[in-house]
Amino acid sequence: MGAKGEIDPTSGKNRTTVERKSERELVVTRRFNAPARIVFEAWTKPELLKRWWAPKSFGVSFLSCEADVRTGGTYRFVFRHAASEQPMEFFGRYIEVTPHSRLVWTNDEGGEGGAVTTVTFEERGGETLVVMHDLYPSKEALDAAIASGSTCGFSETFEQLDELLVTLSTSVGRS
């Protein structure tokens, strides 16, 4: 994992890093060449959020983007994807909104097992380091979310892996 906020030599852009901190957490970091108040604004005004949250290169677009960004406020994002007739909805509640420094929200579309996302904005020398942290309530919650996301069936490799896991869990159980 590279240092936080380093420049990507190929694109010359600030590098995005992703790290799995534990079986329950994922951490994403990125530096922005702007003060925290500006970056924060882009995360908290729906009309701005809308312009970057659904990247064009992923073939998704917003059908609607509602976000009442204040403590206790809710959000609801509806996306459309070319390959799907059914729109996709994401919703939750803002648990904490501290201007220019911290955002915390829930991800409720998956029910109980949704992650809590914390985003911090640290300004240093006119630049802002954004750290996004997804915390799942338990290993089981993350496992469940993942299992329901893989309805496409397993490739051979994964079936083999399944067999391995059976062996693994039996042997661990024995020791």
Binding site: K13, E23, F32, R51, W52, P55, F58, S84, I146, A147
Partner: protein, 161 residues
């Protein structure tokens, strides 16, 4: 169908062989997958995840993988490095080995460990896919941020004028 399928592949989905037929019928597979791409991109299969977690849930085992990423080592070396008994280290290496993350080979009296063929490739691939999504998002966010900065400069000048 090309579009849907290539999008699916581009997004690094785990559909595997199911991808092409799924794309043809625009089945819930893609919908689900897109959902998960967006929803924290947790497109691991359960098996893949279980394997990684079982093996990686332990700090010592993560340390061993890190160590083996630098250089192959014998169980004795590893035991010393992690201040453990030989038996303890053998157990850890056993778990890693069964998950396909480490392979061992006995030469004479020494058992040498190295990263397995599966290594952390799947883990890394998944992290990379997730990173790609955020990179795309943040590159667009850069544009928004630049605009806001410009606007602030212009507004600032106006106020001064």
């Amino acid at each position: 169908m090309g579009t849907a399928e290539s999008t699916c592949i581009e997004m690094g989905l785990i559909c595997g062989k199911a991808a092409s037929s799924a794309a043809r019928s625009a089945s819930p597979c893609i919908c689900q997958s897109v959902r998960y791409i967006l929803n924290h991109m947790v497109q691991y299969t359960k098996a893949r995840l279980d394997a990684s977690f079982a093996a990686l849930s332990d700090a010592t085992r993560r340390g061993v993988l890190e160590q083996l990423g630098r250089a192959d080592a014998s169980i004795t070396d590893l035991a010393e490095k992690f201040h453990m008994t030989l038996t303890g280290m053998k157990k850890h290496v056993g778990v890693l080995e069964q998950a396909g993350l480490v392979t061992t080979k006995k030469v004479g009296r020494v058992r040498t460990c190295k990263l397995g063929p599966r290594r952390l490739a799947e883990e890394t691939a998944w992290i990379e896919e997730y990173r790609q999504l955020w990179t795309s998002r943040f590159d667009e966010l850069d544009r928004v941020v630049e605009e806001l900065k410009q606007k602030e400069r212009v507004d600032g000048r106006k106020r001064r004028d």
